[in-house]
């Protein structure tokens, strides 16, 4: 009986309505998703810069969109799509890095034993370096070198001139 009395005399505490709680929770969830999107965008931007010298990343398909407030589901879709693109970008970078490492190893072997890699060619692009040069295993003195087994690695002189070699001198 005493307990019941206490209960009835206790002050009434107003609890937040379920609607308010849901709205606040949803807003907090949207805020969290936007933060995740911001983080993923930064990482994707860095991946884009890294991948640029490796041939770049795939361009997303074009679509028409207008600016709007995204709901929870749409924000989740954006986040998941970004996460997927970031995963793809990192995979591409890793694959390309492996290819470049393999090309570098190949070049070192070519330089050590050119005779074993006749006419092999490794370009600067294969190594992830800027420019148009290429290392090419060629016979010294042409046909004689081929017959004698005199092989060497030659580095080409770089990018062709934009206007060619120009007109021959009179």
């Amino acid at each position: 009986m005493r307990l019941l009395d206490q209960e009835s005399s206790a002050q009434q505490v107003q609890l937040p309505s379920p609607v308010t709680v849901t709205e606040d929770a949803q807003r907090a969830a949207r805020h969290t998703l936007r933060r995740q999107i911001a983080g993923l965008e930064r990482q994707l931007a860095e991946a884009f810069v890294t991948a640029y010298t490796m041939g770049g990343l795939e361009h997303p398909p074009a679509y028409s969109a207008q600016p709007r407030l995204l709901d929870l589901g749409e924000l989740e879709q954006v986040r998941d799509a970004l996460a997927e693109r970031l995963r793809g970008a990192r995979l591409r970078i890793a694959e390309r890095a492996d290819e470049q490492a393999a090309s570098r190893l190949h070049l070192e072997r070519m330089l050590l034993e050119p005779g074993k890699y006749r006419f092999a060619r490794v370009s600067r692009e294969d190594l992830g370096e800027p420019g148009c040069g290429a290392w090419h295993v060629r016979p010294r003195l042409g046909l004689i070198g081929m017959l004698m087994g005199w092989w060497q690695v030659k580095l080409s002189s770089g990018c062709p001139l934009p206007r060619g070699r120009g007109l021959p001198r009179p």
């Binding site: 949207r30 911001a38 931007a45 640029y52 997303p60 969109a65 207008q66 600016p67 407030l69």
Partner: protein, 219 residues
């Protein structure tokens, strides 16, 4: 012309529902006298000098810089893909790379471009006669809204983020202004507005407007 300019930019309204979702979103606007005519040599030279700031490598790395990164992030958060719908500063950079330089078009557009290049903050210009004296702001579109002040403008889907005043919708956020609302040959006064997002310091937004006004020769 100088005495007409009040360089105190006004803060535009942001609909409470939008502000609650994006506390960093803001619009700042200013009204200045200006006419649309060919740029003076000084402005053309300035554009040419600014062209030299851009190289391929710097444009690629642009998205990692704080201001472009903030706009890119905001684009994603409002349903735009910045790799499809480029943010204004990246769009300008790509145009610069394609054309080999920033091309001068008219004084107002050149001033907007200079403000954008110098600060990374996009600015738009409206014919002041089209803007309600109450000022501009950002809100979501509602049923019956259409772009521009005539009823022949494109109808807007409700819920779109728009730049508007009490009388009309001037543009979708980060899009071109409605036909007939931009500066024309008969314009004598323009309203410049810049949009800032979370991560863009307020001083950058005011700086953008100031640089633009200065280029217009009104400062």
């Amino acid at each position: 012309m100088t005495e007409d300019v009040d360089l105190a930019a006004a803060a535009g309204f942001v609909e409470p529902r939008v502000s609650a979702e994006f506390p960093g979103l803001r619009l700042v606007w200013i009204s200045v006298p200006s006419r649309r005519h060919a740029s003076p040599r000084a402005v053309v030279n300035r554009l040419r000098a600014l062209s030299n700031r851009y190289r391929g490598a710097s444009v690629v790395a642009m998205r990692t810089q704080p201001i472009p990164s903030a706009y890119r992030t905001f684009f994603r958060q409002i349903g735009l893909d910045p790799d499809v719908t480029r943010i204004p500063s990246e769009h300008a950079a790509v145009i610069r790379l394609l054309h080999g330089q920033f091309r001068s078009s008219n004084l107002i557009d050149d001033a907007l471009l200079i403000g954008l290049i110098e600060t990374g903050v996009p600015i738009w210009a409206l014919d002041a006669d089209r803007v309600d004296p109450g000022g501009l702001g950002i809100r979501t579109s509602v049923s019956g809204d259409h772009l521009g002040s005539t009823e022949f403008g494109d109808h807007l889907v409700p819920g779109r983020l728009v730049v508007a005043d009490a009388a009309s919708v001037h543009a979708l956020l980060f899009d071109e202004v409605a036909p007939g609302h931009g500066a024309s040959a008969s314009t004598e006064r323009i309203v410049l507005f810049a949009v800032g997002v979370d991560g863009v310091p307020a001083i950058h937004i005011e700086e953008a407007l100031w640089v633009c006004v200065e280029a217009l020769g009104a400062a």
